[in-house]
Structure formats: structure tokens, C-alpha cells
């Protein structure tokens, strides 16, 4: 049953009682909360996800609660608990959705050695998966939202999950988090109807969430093979430039952005090796989203970077644009 088909009263009963078991494709998370504002926001953001009716094994239990102590009686706050332990500093109770997203990110990024996890946005079109590694603040979420607007399938705006068994990418379609100036850009692309309220004054500034498209959620169990790795750097006003990365650079890029490389031992090494040997990797700096999308779509049509972009091979270039970005 889809979350959007659960009547609000029933959803509230479940959340305040035994919780709902949310199907995230490769993860099952149980969610409980008594925070009233949360239920409608959750139903909107996760409406297309499935609730699992049958009992089973949860990978995680996330509880959103009012913190203990006197603070609960004035200026209500929300505290996230993961498997019974408090996670993150409390936020204002109206930002329960942001707390839930942080908890879920934490759960997936610490989900252990079964998969190789990389801090990256992942999108797919025509069976070709593209990995955009980057720490938060690199602009990958905005790029991710723009690619979704041009018809790419959303895998994740945060975490690439690679199955070491065959090197395939596993989707976890979830809301895309957009911050600060990007909120206006994403609002222009999607209109108001797809965005959550803006949560102001979060640890990383203002934040809003973009609802994942129904088609991406419906295909949450369809994997894809990675075709390219593109390391994006947004520098306002800069013309688009790209540079192919050497194998060793690509390897280091993946390992530096991996959340569990050392924990996956030999399997992780083999997985990264296969990834960089089978997928060309590029550094891409861009000053506007249209250029970036054109570059990426050109990449997929020609199976390599075309025209003047690829010719700008310069060993120091990649380092330069990263310094410029900082």
C-alpha cells in the first residue's frame, strides 16, 4: 500500500503506535513519531513509497521525539533517535522532516560493508548510470534536481550504492535536499507543488526538499550499470570545462568520497577498480546548469566527452578548478 493512500487518521495512529515499515527498496525502516506536524509532510514527500503491512526484519528504527527535560514545554524541539540512541542536535519541532532525512542519510551511510557507499548523486537514463561524487556543498543536489527535471531517473542525491557482486548501482529514490540559493532555482524548475516548506536556520542554512518523481519511486528495485563518473564543481560565471581523469585520479576521487571503503576490505578495492576501469571519469566545472546538462547528455550520446571539451587536457586543470571553488 502506498503512503499516499493511507488515510491521515490511520497514518497518525500507526506513527504514534507501532510505527510504519517504509519500503526503501534495499532498506526497510520503521518510523515512529508523535510529532503532529510531521505526518502530512511525510505523506506528501513519501506518498509514492510503499508501506509494508506484514511483520519482518527492519534494518533501522527511527523515532522522532520531543526531547526530555523542560525544553519540551516551551519552544518545542525534535530529537531523532536511531535504533534507540539520540542522533544529531535537536531542531525546532517544525523541522521534523529535516531531522528524519538526516537520520535516514546517517542510517544508509553507515549501513555496513554489504555495499560500497559513495558520497555522490546518481542518475540514470537509457540504462546508463552516472555517478557525481562530491561532498555536501559541491552543488551536486542542484545538478541532480536539474537532471531530474530534464527526464533523468533519480537514484539518489546523496549516496551512490554499488553492489560488489556485479558493480551495479542500487537506487534509493528519496527527496532531494536543496539548500540556500538553490531553492529558488529548483522552484523555477518544478513550481511550488513539488517542494516542502523551507526550513530556515538549519545547520547548513536554509533547506527544502523536492519530492521524488513517482516513476523513480516505482522503479526503486531496478538497478543500472554505471557508465560515467563526473566530478562536478560549480563556480558562478565560469564557462563549462571538463577534463578526463586518469585511472589513479578517478580511483582516489571515489575512495576519498567513499563512506565505507576501508570497511569493505578487499571487496571494496575490487569494486572501485572495476568501476574506474569500466567507466570514464571526468572533472567538470560549470557556471550554469544548462551547460552542465548539455555536457552530460553529450557524454551519453557519444560515449565520451566530445569536441572542445575533451581536448582541454591539462594535468593541473582539475586541481586548479577545485582550488578556485574553495
Amino acid at each position: 500500500m502506498r503512503v499516499e493512500h493511507v488515510p491521515m487518521a490511520t497514518l497518525r495512529d500507526w506513527l504514534t503506535g507501532p510505527g510504519i515499515r517504509l519500503d526503501l527498496g534495499y532498506f526497510t525502516v520503521r518510523l515512529t513519531t508523535k510529532i503532529r506536524q510531521f505526518a502530512p509532510q511525510f505523506q506528501f514527500m513519501y506518498g509514492r513509497h510503499q508501506v509494508i503491512d506484514a511483520p519482518g526484519i527492519d534494518d533501522y528504527w527511527i523515532a522522532l521525539k520531543y526531547p526530555l527535560g523542560l525544553r519540551r514545554y516551551f519552544g518545542r524541539q525534535v530529537q531523532g533517535y536511531i535504533d534507540g540512541r539520540a542522533a544529531f542536535l535537536p531542531l525546532g519541532a517544525e523541522a521534523a522532516l529535516a531531522m528524519w532525512e538526516s537520520c535516514l542519510n546517517w542510517c544508509i551511510s553507515t549501513s555496513g560493508p554489504s555495499y560500497l557507499l559513495i558520497h555522490a548523486a546518481v542518475l540514470e537514463r537509457n540504462g546508463k548510470g552516472i555517478i557525481f561524487p562530491g561532498q555536501s556543498g559541491s552543488g551536486k543536489s542542484t545538478l541532480c534536481a536539474a537532471l531530474v527535471a530534464s527526464g533523468w531517473r533519480l537514484f539518489s542525491d546523496e549516496i551512490a550504492i554499488i553492489d560488489p557482486a556485479d558493480g551495479s548501482l542500487l537506487p534509493v529514490p528519496r527527496p532531494i535536499s536543496v539548500k540556500n540559493e538553490s531553492i529558488a532555482i529548483v522552484r523555477r524548475l518544478f513550481g511550488d507543488g513539488e517542494l516542502s516548506p523551507v526550513f530556515a536556520g538549519m545547520p547548513k542554512g536554509d533547506i527544502a526538499y523536492l519530492r521524488p518523481p513517482a516513476s523513480a519511486v516505482a522503479r526503486a528495485r531496478e538497478t543500472a550499470m554505471p557508465a560515467f563518473v563526473v566530478s562536478p564543481t560549480f563556480v558562478a560565471g565560469l564557462p563549462i570545462r571538463s577534463v578526463p581523469l586518469r585511472l589513479t585520479e578517478a580511483f582516489k576521487l571515489i575512495v576519498d568520497n567513499s563512506m565505507n571503503y576501508s570497511g569493505t576490505l578487499r571487496k571494496g578495492f575490487d569494486t572501485v577498480t572495476r568501476l574506474v576501469e569500466s567507466c570514464p571519469a571526468y572533472g567538470m566545472s560549470y557556471g550554469n546548469l544548462e551547460d552542465a546538462i548539455r555536457f552530460i547528455e553529450g557524454l551519453c550520446e557519444n560515449d565520451h566527452a566530445s569536441g572542445p571539451l575533451a581536448s582541454e587536457l591539462n594535468q593541473d586543470y582539475y586541481r586548479q578548478i577545485h582550488c578556485a571553488a574553495k
Partner: protein, 352 residues
């Protein structure tokens, strides 16, 4: 009632569980950091096949994670050895690092977030210098915390290895001397047990007493895991020598920490059904039985409970009292008042 305790006492109890109970058991094991341990116990009994598939995936992933963690800790032990071997001083591994390096059963499936070592107090500055020279950094703490560590605790501020992202705690004894419980670090060092790699671990009685002091004197976050440590250590050493229990009591009296051994004996018996020799029970009778009984109730709920929604508000109150108690034990009253005052001001300052 508590599926995890049942499974830790006898893992065959899991064969009776339905899927809802398995889910509950795994949640308890995740909360207490004992998933990998549970899996190893299951595989020892040849019970892995009987585990529901989804649970098996989770347990096996935890086992691999624990292995990777232990590889990291082993490597870290080797780095510490290389960094400090030139100083010509005894270096003793404590807690998880010791169990791992000595191959003790307590290391089974155990995760460590940091490595702890004990060195002579007079060598602290040389150790600090050697570690800084080899790439460790002192974790950034404010001036108050720095003073707190150096003046009042039994350790230096934590060392951070930025390349490997690991933590190292350097101790000069096993309990804060400011508490009034003064344990001479040299006494512990002189009876250490050398390992093949040039490092050492504490002698068996000291190893057990340190584990008990940590669990019952400080306020650790993994109380049940620590009680499992204690059980494993005591079972291991008492199985090796019939003299272990009497030795343990004598050593506790000598170091004047029989109170910690008393708590250990009580809770090992009450929670895991570990048999405690009657002579030991007699030797560690507390002076104030009523106070002991109240504290025992508090500690027991702190060890077994804690998983929030099944626990209810009273367990949270109990946890808070345990937190206060650990400070009460560690610091004299006036210093404690000052400490909490400064901490609350710093915390408010950080928020603003």
C-alpha cells in the same frame, strides 16, 4: 522478557523466536552493539541456518564490519608500537585493544571506537612528543577541557590520527585520581603481562578490575557490552586457574576497589547467572547494604534497559541518575559543582 540477555546466556533460545521477536532481538543487539557477537555465538552452535534470511543478512554484515574494525585496531596497535618503541618505556594496551592483541574471548565480534594505552605518568610528555612527531594530533578541545583532562583525569586529551581517522587515549592509571580512588599506575605497570610484539597487557586480575571500574565507576555508553566483556574475562581466567577468584578478591582489596568487584559479582550473577563462589560473596559484602541495593536497581536498569520506547520515562530518569552518579564518584563535590557550572556555561556559549 529481554531477548538479547536470553540469547547471550544461551543462544539456543533464539530457535524458538518468531519473526516479530527476531526483529525485536536484532534491534536490541543493534542498540547494545552486540550484533556481530550474536552472529558468532549462533555460528558456534551451528544455528545460522535456522536464522530468518533478512536477519542473517544483517548479522553477517555486522560480522564483516567487526572484522574490518578489528583489522583497523590491529593496524593502529602496530603504529602505536612503532611510535613508542624507541622510548624504552612499558606500553600497556587496555580494554578492547588488549583483548584483541592477546586473543582473549572478550574480543569476539567486539567493536572499538578508539585504542587505549597505559604508560608511566613520568613519561607522559615524552609519549605526547613521540605521538605528535609521528602524525597524531591532540584533538581540539577548549582550554577548560584541556585542563580538565590533564589536571583531573587519568588520561591526556584524546589523540587524533587525521590520515587514518582513529582515536588514541593515553592513560597513566585506570581511574581518575581526583576521585580519591588513587590507583598507582606503576603498580599496574610492574605486574603487566608482556606480549610477543613488545607491548603488554594488564595482569588478569587488573584487566578484570579495570573493566569493572569502567562499567560501575564511569558512565559508559555500552553498559551491556561491557558486562559481556566482564563475563568473558572472568570465565576465561577462572577456567584457567582455580586460584583466580581468590586472587581477584585479594587484588581488589589491595587496590581498594572491592566496591567495583562487588557490583560486578552482583550483576554478573543477576543478569547472566554467572556462579560466584560463596567465599567471594562473603569477602565483598558492602558496608551499606541499603544504599547498595538501591544503586544495584539503578545500575541493572541502566544495563538492561535504555532502549527508549520499551523503557518508559523512569529508565530515562535512571540513566540521568547514573550519569550524575558517575560524576559524583569521579569528582569531589565542590569540584563537581564547578565542573557542571563551567560545562553548562560553555554549552550555552557554543549554542549562541
Amino acid at each position: 522478557m529481554n531477548l538479547l540477555i536470553d540469547a547471550l546466556v544461551d543462544v539456543r533460545t533464539t530457535t524458538r523466536l518468531d519473526i516479530v521477536e527476531w526483529n525485536r532481538l536484532l534491534l536490541q543487539a543493534r542498540y547494545h552493539g552486540l550484533l556481530a557477537r550474536l552472529w558468532l555465538d549462533l555460528s558456534d552452535q551451528g544455528l545460522c541456518e535456522a536464522v530468518p534470511a533478512a536477519a542473517r543478512r544483517q548479522l553477517n554484515a555486522a560480522r564483516i564490519e567487526a572484522e574490518a574494525n578489528q583489522t583497523t585496531i590491529r593496524f593502529e596497535i602496530d603504529r602505536v608500537r612503532t611510535a613508542l618503541c624507541g622510548l624504552g618505556i612499558p606500553v600497556v594496551l587496555l580494554k578492547g585493544g588488549a583483548y584483541l592483541a592477546a586473543g582473549l574471548p572478550a574480543a569476539r565480534g567486539r567493536l572499538s571506537v578508539d585504542l587505549d594505552i597505559l604508560v608511566p605518568r613520568t613519561s607522559l610528555s615524552r609519549v605526547e612528543g613521540a605521538l605528535l612527531a609521528k602524525g597524531w594530533r591532540i584533538q581540539e578541545v577548549n582550554d577548560y577541557d584541556d585542563k580538565y583532562y590533564r589536571q583531573w583525569t587519568h588520561e591526556l586529551p584524546p589523540f587524533w590520527q587525521p590520515e587514518r581517522e582513529t582515536l588514541l587515549d593515553v592513560h597513566h592509571t585506570i581511574f581518575p585520581p581526583v576521585s580519591g580512588i588513587k590507583i598507582d599506575g606503576n603498580e599496574l605497570l610492574s605486574s603487566r603481562r608482556p606480549l610477543d610484539n613488545g607491548l603488554a597487557i594488564l595482569q588478569p586480575c587488573d584487566l578484570v578490575l579495570h573493566s569493572a571500574l569502567h562499567l560501575f565507576g564511569e558512565d559508559p555508553s555500552n553498559r551491556l557490552r561491557d558486562l559481556v566483556d566482564l563475563r568473558d574475562l572472568i570465565q576465561h581466567y577462572s577456567g584457567q586457574s582455580p586460584e583466580f577468584w581468590p586472587d581477584l578478591v585479594r587484588r581488589a582489596q589491595q587496590l581498594r576497589v572491592t566496591w567495583a568487584l562487588g557490583y560486578a559479582a552482583h550483576h554478573l550473577g543477576a543478569i547472566f547467572g554467572v556462579p560466584i563462589p560463596p567465599a567471594v560473596r562473603l569477602a565483598i559484602v558492602p558496608r551499606d547494604r541499603l544504599r547498595q541495593a538501591v544503586t544495584n536497581r539503578l545500575i541493572a536498569s541502566g544495563i538492561v534497559g535504555g532502549l527508549h520506547d520499551e523503557a518508559g520515562p523512569w529508565v530515562a530518569v535512571g540513566q540521568f541518575l547514573l550519569y550524575m552518579r558517575s560524576h559524583w564518584i569521579k569528582m569531589p563535590p565542590l569540584l563537581l559543582v564547578r565542573h557542571l557550572w563551567v560545562k553548562s556555561r560553555l554549552r550555552n556559549g557554543e549554542r549562541a
